[in-house]
Subunit: 678 residues, 2 copies
Amino acid sequence: METQNGESGYVEILQKSQRPFNPLVVIEFTAGVKQAAIEWIVAKIQKSKAAGGAELDVNAVVMHHKQETVLYVGGSTERLLWAADMMDIKKEYRDGYHHEFSVDDVTNFRGSKDLDSFLTMAEKQKIILHELEAVRATEDDTAIAGYERFRLLSGNSIIKKYVSNGIIAKMYPLHDEEEIKRLGAEWYQLKKFANEQPIYQIRDYFGEKIGMYFAFLGFYTVALIPPAFIGILYLVTSWKSMYREAIFAVFNLIWATIFLEAWKRYCSELSFKWGQAQDVELNRSQEPRAMYHGTMDKNPVTGKPEPRYPKYKRSLRFYGVTVPVVGFCLMVAFYLMLGYFYLQAWADEVYAKDKTWLNMTLIYMPTAIYAVIIGIVNNFYRKIAKILNDFENHRLQSSYDNHLIVKLILFDFVNCFISLFYVAFYLQDMTLLRSHLAALLVTQQVIGQVREAMVPFIFVRRRKQQVDKVMQKEAAIQKVEYFNGEMDQTIQKQVNLESTMDEYEGTMDDYLEMFLQFGYVFLFSSAFPLAAFWALLNNVTEIRSDAFKMCRVFQRPFAESASNIGAWQVAFEVISVIAVITNCALIGMDPEVKKLLPSDISAVNIVIIFVAVEHVILAVKGAVAYCIPDTPKWVEIELEKMAFQSKQALHAERMAAASSQQKKLGDLLKLETRETSI
Amino acid sequence: METQNGESGYVEILQKSQRPFNPLVVIEFTAGVKQAAIEWIVAKIQKSKAAGGAELDVNAVVMHHKQETVLYVGGSTERLLWAADMMDIKKEYRDGYHHEFSVDDVTNFRGSKDLDSFLTMAEKQKIILHELEAVRATEDDTAIAGYERFRLLSGNSIIKKYVSNGIIAKMYPLHDEEEIKRLGAEWYQLKKFANEQPIYQIRDYFGEKIGMYFAFLGFYTVALIPPAFIGILYLVTSWKSMYREAIFAVFNLIWATIFLEAWKRYCSELSFKWGQAQDVELNRSQEPRAMYHGTMDKNPVTGKPEPRYPKYKRSLRFYGVTVPVVGFCLMVAFYLMLGYFYLQAWADEVYAKDKTWLNMTLIYMPTAIYAVIIGIVNNFYRKIAKILNDFENHRLQSSYDNHLIVKLILFDFVNCFISLFYVAFYLQDMTLLRSHLAALLVTQQVIGQVREAMVPFIFVRRRKQQVDKVMQKEAAIQKVEYFNGEMDQTIQKQVNLESTMDEYEGTMDDYLEMFLQFGYVFLFSSAFPLAAFWALLNNVTEIRSDAFKMCRVFQRPFAESASNIGAWQVAFEVISVIAVITNCALIGMDPEVKKLLPSDISAVNIVIIFVAVEHVILAVKGAVAYCIPDTPKWVEIELEKMAFQSKQALHAERMAAASSQQKKLGDLLKLETRETSI
C-alpha cells in the first residue's frame, strides 16, 4: 500500500516546528490519491519562498478507513504580513485612508499594536490561497508526482492543476466559530429583524464581493418600500382614477432609475471605505485563469511567459458557435411557451364543452407539464452555457463570469418573461396577464423560500448529529500525522462538519433571482401594482435566509475583492429601459385609458401620442441618470485628496533631490554654450 | 504727465541683464494707463520667485504718440526648464512614453541634447503665461498700484486682475515666422491639397486643444465620403427602388454611430501620443477661474485658501434664472419661426391671386425679414448666454465652457432645426422639407465660406501694407526703453502686425458650425441624401480656410492641453440618437413606402411597425457603441504597461528598504510575545 511507505515520507521531508499552529485553510484530497502526489505538494507548501515553495505551515491528518488525507494549512504572523505586503492588500492607515500595506511602515497602520490580529481571518485565508496558488512548476517539474499523465508546464500553478485534475477534492477556509456566532446574532436573529444588516462585519468575514451582494440586496429591498406602499394604497383606497395605472407606472419607472443611480453612489461609497476604489484597472497584468490555454507567449504588459489565445479565435468561437447555439436554445424556449399556450387553449376548450371532473384536472395538466419541461430545459441550458463559456476560453475570471452572466440572463429572461410578453402584446389579455404575472411571481417566491430556507435548515440539524456519531467512531480508526503539534479535537470536529457542508457557488444565482424579481416588478407594473409588495415581503425574509445559509449551511468561501456589482449593474439598467417601453405599450393598449382621450383623435394619433410619451420618459430617464453623479461628492474629494497628496509627495521628493542637481543643469547649459562657441 | 516721471522709474527697479533676450509673449497696456501700475507689474515680473515674482525677463517699449506701453516677456532656458518641471509638463522620455518632465532627470528625456530648443516655443509661451498668472497678491498688496479702486485680495492673480480691470488690453504669444511658414506650406498650400493635415505639427505649434479640433475636423470630413458617395450614386443611377431612402437612412444612422466611436478611439490614440491620457482628473485641486467668487474658505483638497461658492446657490441660479430665461428665448425663436411660416403662406397666397412683379418680390420678403431678425436675436441670445453663464459662477474654466456650449447648442438647435421639424412633422410636406433643407445647408455654407475665408484674406493683405506705413512713421516718434538689449526691428514690426490681428476666440464657434452641419446631414438624411456631399465639399475647403485663419489672420493663441473634445462628443452623440427618431418617422410618413406594405395592414399597425423598427435601430446603435472599445488595444496595453512599471518600481524600492527593516518586524513580534508573557 502506498499509504504505508508514505508514513515515513513525511518525517523525512518535514522539520518539526515548535511554533503555535493555527490552521486556517483545509485541503481535502480525493480518496485513493497516490501518496507521492500528497508528499510532493506538502513539501512544496513547506519549502521556503526562495526555493519556490509557499513557506506555510501544514498539518496532515490521514483517515485510514476512507484513504482520505486532509491538510490543515496555516502561516506565521510574520510570513502572512510579508505576503500581505507583496499582495498590495489595502489596510487602514493612520491618515484614515486605505493604503497598500507595507511591512516597513507597519507601525503607521491602524490596529498594528497587536500584530497577530492585525490581519482579519478572512484576509489571512485569502493570503494563504494566493500563496498556495503562487507555487509554480519549475523547468524540472514536468508532471504531478505519481501521475505522469498530468503534465505540467513551467509556470503552471501546481495547486490549480491538482484541483483541475481532481487530485484535490476540496479546498476551503475554516469558519471562525466565535465570529460567526456574533455575526449571525446581528444578522439573522429574529429579535434583530428590523435592524440594518451588519454590512461592514459581513465584508470583514466574507470579503468585498459577498459584502457587496448583501449591501445591494438590502438597498434594493429598502427601495421597494415606496412602490409597495403605493401598490397597497391603490388596493385599499376607493380612489379609482382612470389615470392611476399610468401614474403608478411613471412613478415606478423614474423610481427604478433613481434607485439604480443611488445604488451606484452607495456602491462607490462602500468601495471607497473598503479600500477598493483607488485602483486603476490592470486587467492585462492580472494572472490568467487556471483553465486558460493557448500557445506560450509573453504577457504584453508584464513580459512574463503565459499562454496567448488570439482574440479573433475567441470571436470566431463566440459568433460561430455560442451565438447560434444560444439562439437555438432561446427558440426552443419560445416554442415550448407557444406549445404551452396551445395546449392550455385546447384543454380549456375541452372543459368548456364537457365540464366533468376529469376534464377539470386536464386544465391544470398543461401548466404542470410546462413547469416540468422548463425545469429540465433550464438545467440542460445551464450545462450548455457553462460548456460554451469554457469553450470561449476567457483569460480573466471576471470576463468569464460576465459572459456566463449574460448567457444565463438571456435564457432566464426568455424563459420567465416571454410568456408575459406573449400574453400582454400578442393575446392582449390584461386579465390573463395580471393572473399569470401574480402566479409566476408568488409561486417562484414560495418555492424559492422553501428551497433556500427550510430544506437546508433541516439538513444542518441532521448533519450535526451525524458528525457527532462519526467522530466517536473515527477517534478509534483514524491515523493522524502531526507536524506542528497535536490538532485540537474541536477543530477536527469542526472540519468534519464543514467538510460535509455544501460549497457556496458564488453570488451568481442570488443576483439572478433578484434580477428576475426586478423584472416582474417593473416590466409590467401598470398591470400588477401589487408586485412590489410581494417582492418586498419576499426579500425581507430572503435577506435573513440568505444570511443563515452563508453562516450555517455553506462552507466558508474565500474572500474576494470587488468594487461594484459588475455586469449586473448593466443588466438591471437594461431591464429598466425595457420597462419604459413595455409599460407605455401596456397603458397605450388599455381601452380604459383610450376612453379618456377626446373621441375625435384617430387611432393612429393615439399610438403616436403614446410613442411620444415613451420617448419623453426615456429622455427624462437618461437625463436623470446623467445628472446624478455616480460618486458622492465627499468620496470624490477624498479620492482627489489622496491623488493630490501622493503627487505632492513626489514633487517634494523631487525638489529635495533637485537642490543638489541644480548645479548639474547649470553645468549642462554652460557646456552647451561652450560647444556652440567652439 | 505720468509717463515722464516713469522714465527713470524703470531704471531704478531693473538690473540690466546681459543675457541674450528672446521675447516670447507680448503684453499691451491700455492707452493712458497710470505709469505706477506698469512699473509695479514690471517689478513683479522681474523679481525672484522667492520674493513672490515671476523671475522672467522683460523689455518695455513705450509708444509716446498713443501713450501705449508694450512689454516683451521672455525667460532664460534654465528658468523655463525649472518651471516646466514644477508644472508637470509631459515630455517624451527615453522609454518612448511621455513622463512629467524633471530637471534632475533631464538627460533621460529625448531631445535634451540641445536644451535651448528642448521645449517648443508653444510650451515656453504656455509656461510664461502660467508663471505670469502665478504672481499673486501678498497680504501687503491691497490694491493695484495707482488704482486704489481695484482692490486685491491676498492670493489673487495680479495679472488676471490687470486683465479683468482693463489695465492690460491684450496679452498674446508671438508667432514663430519661420515655423508658421513651414506649417502653412504643409497645411493649406493648394499643391498639398490632397495631403493629410500635419496634425502633430499643428499640435506642436498651437497646443493640444486646437490640434484636437483639426484632428476632429479632418476625421469627420473623411467620414463624410461614404455617405456623400452613396448620395451621388443615388442621384446619377436610374436605380429607383422604393426602399432606397430607407436603406440610405439606415446606413447613415449606423455610419454616424461607427464614426463617433471610431473618433473616440482615434482621439484616445492622439491623447496618448500627446502625453495627455495618463492623468487622473484632478478637478478640485485645479485653480479656480479668475472670475470665480465666493466667501473665502479653504480648498477641500489642497487646503489652500480660495473662494467657495456653495453648490446649492449655483443650482438655485441655474434652475431659478438660467432655465426660465433660456426657455423663454427658445419660445421666442419658436414663435418667430411660426410667424415666418404664416407670413410666407400669406405672401404665397397674395402672389397666387395676383401674379405681378411686385408680388413676386413679396414672396422673398418673409425669408429676408426672418433672416435679419434671426441674426439679431442670435446675437442678442449669445450675449444673454454669456451673462447667464458668468452669473452661474463656475469654478473651473472647463465647466464654464461646457455650460456655455450647452446653452449655445440649445438655441442654435432650435434656431436652425425647429423649422425643419415643423415642415417635416407638422406640415408633413416632403418637397418643402427637401428644398428648405437644401436652402439652409447651402446658403449657410456659402455665407460661412465667404465670411471665413475671403474677407480675412483681403484684410490681411491691406493690414500688412498699413503696418509698413505705420512703422516708417513710428520709427521717428516712438520712445523705447530697453532692459535686455536693443529690440530687433523685425520683431517690432511683427508685433505691430500681430497687435492689429483679431484675437482667436477659441474652438467654440468652429465646433458649433460642424455640429449644425452634422445635424443637417444626419437628421433628415432620408429626405435629402445629397446633404453629405455638400457638407463634404464645404469641409474640404473649410479645413484649408480654417488653417489659413489660424496661421495668418489671428493672433497666436496660448497652447492649451486637452485629452478629448469635451461636451461636443456628447452633443454629437445626442444628435445621432435624435436622427434615428426623425428618420424613422420621415420614412414611416412617406406615402411611397406605405404602398410597399401589404394593403390589409391597418394604419395603426404601420405606425407600430415603424416604432418597432426605430427601437431595433436604437438597440443596434447602442450595442454597436457598447461593443466598440473606446480605446484601441495597443493604447490600453501601453497605458497598463506604464501603470504596471511604476507599481513595480515602487515595489522594488519597498523591498530594498525592507531588507534592512526585516529585523524590525521580528523585533516587534518578539516584543509582543514578551509583553503577553509578562
